[in-house]
Amino acid sequence: MSQSVNYNAVVTVLGKDRVGIIAGVTAVLAKLNINISDISQTILKDMFTMIMLVDTINSTYAFEKIREELKVLGEEMNLEIRIQHKDIFNAMQRI
């Protein structure tokens, strides 16, 4: 990961691997005008794990609304989708 990407939140997607997860999640983010600065994805024992660093600054939607949309998508696709402000990771993982 480069040091210069702009992002203010982290989206994590956890669930059973299947066709169309990335397409489904990125479509919703695009609809909300959220830029994806970095994306990584692995599959551990059939468990799909995706981490996206995103920038919601240019989105016209409030953080609450974005969170709600992702939650609805998660329920539809049977995935756990979270969006969290990056400061929580800064707080816990950096001195």
Partner: protein
């Protein structure tokens, strides 16, 4: 920029290890609500709390959603009511408890602490009125918590108050016997009570505190337990280091939430309480941490040493993670609220005497312990006196929250539900000290209190 494992570790702590912020507690000064008319004073109290804390719950919920951090409780602590109500021309303070209860419900928090008095050196007239009002206040309100500071290292132990509390605890039990003496779960007595404790039932806003402040209590036994499973069989140096590192991360969550809450509510940040607070959920237990460290069952020989190390390592890690640490700060060992503690009592490994020893090195004391309902008042006072002495003579906070459940005997069990958990009725040594308790007076402050 983060590595994937860092992000997943954080997610995992919230998702699988029960990491949460246990409480955001807003401390509110009520000294300016004193009035000659109790009715006026109560109205001012209600108005002030509902105005000051109007956005507390919404703000906490918003922070919770943005950061993905569960925030379990939103609470209020106020100036000890004995200090506020003293100006009023009234003998019974129940109306003050009612005002607090109504305000608490109006703003949507789940508890309000501060039906309190500080009597370590003696009673004011107002303190005595508050004492008399406690049983009714706890029986007839839902969300009000009471606490009394009976002793301090600077002042010694007010043994008249210790004797009186034995009776009041029994009265509380009797008035709430249809709910298994639930009133006693909302009443705690302290030695060296902190002014900025965010945890119930002992939260109140001390007189040196600002007009309003945000104090946050973190939790995290499940996270510590999971981290210790990774260093199974390794030396105690490694265990201490692992606890410290994990406590740092846990506390940083609290610090972030506290800063955000303070900023959004435009109220000063007070302190972070570094306590490891268990819940009855499996995997969120202090006792299980001690067992992971290596004692067979909580209460076995070695338990006090393991707990001392845990408590100390939590503080060391947490201190570096927060700009202001306060409250109780250490490991809590409530019996009914900790699945592993309950199991330890039921297996016979943990008794009250061992629990007392454990309180010498942890942050609170004999907490959420149910005993037979027919326990004499002087036995309860004796137990309190011992616990106060542990605090006063070791220069630390100790507390007693004991529940003599009417109609129950050792081996029975009472279920309070939710975070209060379920309490096995513990056997209590009935060899008493009535003559000691009945002497009254004050146990002088220890020699090491004279530091000037």
């Amino acid at each position: 920029m983060f590595e994937n494992f860092e992000i997943l570790e954080t997610i995992n702590m919230f998702r699988n290890q029960h990491l949460d912020v246990r409480t955001i507690t807003m401390g509110i000064n009520l000294l300016d609500c004193a009035a000659e008319s109790a009715e006026t004073a109560c109205r001012k109290i209600y108005d002030k709390i509902t105005k000051q804390a109007e956005h507390l719950v919404d703000t906490a919920d918003q922070i919770s959603r943005e950061f993905g951090v569960p925030i379990i409780h939103k609470r209020i602590s106020v100036t000890p009511i004995s200090l506020v109500a003293g100006a009023s021309d009234i003998d019974n303070y129940f109306c003050f408890a009612e005002a607090l209860d109504k305000a608490s419900k109006a703003i949507g928090v789940n508890f309000i602490g501060g039906f309190s008095a500080l009597v370590q050196k003696g009673f004011t007239d107002s303190d005595l009125k508050l004492f008399d009002s406690i049983p009714q206040a706890l029986a007839e309100t839902d969300q009000v918590c009471a606490s009394i500071n009976l002793a301090s290292t600077k002042s010694g132990i007010n043994m008249d108050a210790v004797a009186l509390m034995g009776k009041i605890i029994k009265e509380c039990a009797e008035l709430t016997k249809d709910k298994d003496a639930y009133g006693c779960a909302k009443l705690v007595v302290f030695a060296n009570a902190p002014d900025d404790n965010p945890f119930m039932a002992g939260a109140f806003t001390g007189v040196g505190e600002p007009e309003c402040a945000i104090n946050v209590g973190v939790s995290g036994p499940g996270v510590i337990l999971a981290a210790l499973k990774e260093v199974s069989g390794q030396s105690l140096d490694k265990v201490a280091e692992t606890i410290k590192r994990t406590a740092f991360k846990v506390t940083r969550v609290g610090q972030l939430v506290a800063e955000q809450a303070a900023e959004r509510l435009n109220v000063p940040f007070g302190t972070i309480d570094l306590s490891l607070a268990p819940t009855p959920v499996v995997g969120d237990s202090i006792a299980r941490i001690l067992e992971e460290i290596g004692v067979d069952t909580c209460g076995a020989w070695g338990t006090t040493a393991a707990l001392a190390m845990l408590n100390d390592a939590v503080k060391k890690g947490g201190t570096m993670a927060s700009s202001h640490v306060g409250g109780l700060s250490g490991a809590f060992i409530p019996v009914s609220e900790d699945e592993g503690m309950i199991a330890a009592v039921e297996s016979g490994a943990l008794n009250l005497e061992k629990l007392e020893a454990m309180t010498c090195v942890c942050s609170v004391g004999i907490d959420m312990v149910a005993i037979p309902g027919n326990t004499p008042t002087t036995i309860i006072s004796g137990l309190i006196a011992d616990e106060m002495a542990v605090g006063v003579f070791n220069n630390k906070t100790t507390a007693v929250r004991i529940i003599p459940v009417p109609g129950k005997v050792a081996g029975d069990k009472v279920v309070y539900g939710g975070l209060w958990g379920e309490a096995p009725i513990m056997n209590i040594n009935l060899h008493g000290s009535t003559r000691f308790i009945e002497r009254g007076g004050r146990i002088p402050a220890p020699i090491h209190s004279m530091r000037n």
